[in-house]
């Protein structure tokens, strides 16, 4: 069983002296001008380390990925990714070679920054789908009254959503200006206005942070959380690279 941590360029670069999961040593398998950084797992069944993504294992995986980043380009692999043996790993590298190369090119010299924005919890209409008082009155109100109440709930909800989206457009503009790529979700929860990730050149990080500070001053009713730098987790899921016809 082989645990996978990352796909990198510069296969000749030295392996960091960090322990892998289950304290196994790290190894690297090269294929042409890319490499896979992995470690051997004990036994052939599903390992305990995999079935329990506890903080300690997750941080270990992350530490390995980040230790690789200073001197090579890194595609971080999802936690818990395993292959049966080296042959399978080699075969996977061969099959996905062009996709990996395209992704390595895309994230080279760049890091991922996470941004989350909270807005006022009172801003959501009191409804959240169904008003309590409507349900309580169910036995006495008629079908039409119910539907009309639902209609007005929906309209409030829609207006609320539109406000969120307008706000998000304003916030995203200066941030996307500095990023090579971005992903975002609006209203993942009613209070979490925006959850986003930005692929930013390392040298741009300072400016990005400055912009976040500017935004938090410009929008005192919002609260901004910015984390990173992270390996480009959000920008290596094969979507564009495979479609680019390389």
């Amino acid at each position: 069983m082989i645990y996978l941590y990352a796909i990198t360029d510069r296969p000749e670069a030295a392996i960091p002296g960090l322990p892998g999961l289950e304290d196994a040593p790290l190894t690297s398998l090269a294929y042409r001008d890319i490499a896979a950084v992995a470690s051997r797992g004990a036994g052939s069944g599903v390992s305990t380390a995999l079935s329990s993504p506890e903080a300690v294992n997750v941080w270990r995986h992350e530490a390995i990925v980040e230790a690789l980043m200073p001197d090579r380009t890194v595609l971080p692999v999802r936690f818990g990714t395993v292959l049966p043996d080296e042959a399978a790993l080699r075969s996977m590298l061969k099959d996905r070679y062009s996709s990996f190369v395209a992704n390595l090119k895309r994230v080279c010299g760049r890091v991922e920054l996470g941004v989350q924005v909270l807005w006022d919890s009172d801003s959501r209409p009191l409804t959240a789908g169904r008003a309590k008082n409507i349900n309580d009155q169910r036995s006495v109100i008629g079908g039409r009254a119910y539907m009309l109440a639902r209609l007005s709930e929906e309209q409030l909800e829609r207006a609320w959503r539109r406000r969120a989206e307008t706000l998000v457009i304003e916030i995203r503009r200066p941030l996307e200006h500095m990023a090579a790529d971005s992903v975002c979700q609006v209203l993942v929860t009613p209070r979490l206005l925006l959850k986003a990730a930005y692929l930013v050149a390392r040298e741009q990080m300072k400016n990005f942070r400055k912009e976040i500070n500017n935004l938090s001053l410009a929008y005192p009713e919002l609260r901004f959380l910015c984390t990173g730098p992270w390996p480009a987790y959000n920008f290596v899921t094969d979507r564009k690279a495979d479609q680019s016809g390389d």
Binding site: P53, V58, R78, F79, P231, V236, T237
Partner: protein
Amino acid sequence: MTERTTKEKEIVLLDLLDRILDKGVILWGDITISVADVDLVYVGLKLLLTSIEKAEMMRRRANELEQADSAPLIEREPGS
């Protein structure tokens, strides 16, 4: 290095988990069983949602065409 509070560490961990468990390079079919179960459900539901949206779109289009009273109605595909 500044001292980080428990709350700050918790947030950073949550942020990391969101990335490391949910994103990054994946190898379909090689993920552990429990995660694969979720993937199956996910694929099935995504298809369900897409078909409902598609049906909505076609119905709306059909209504528009009927009202415009110009172009012929959308032909039903055989067997649909």
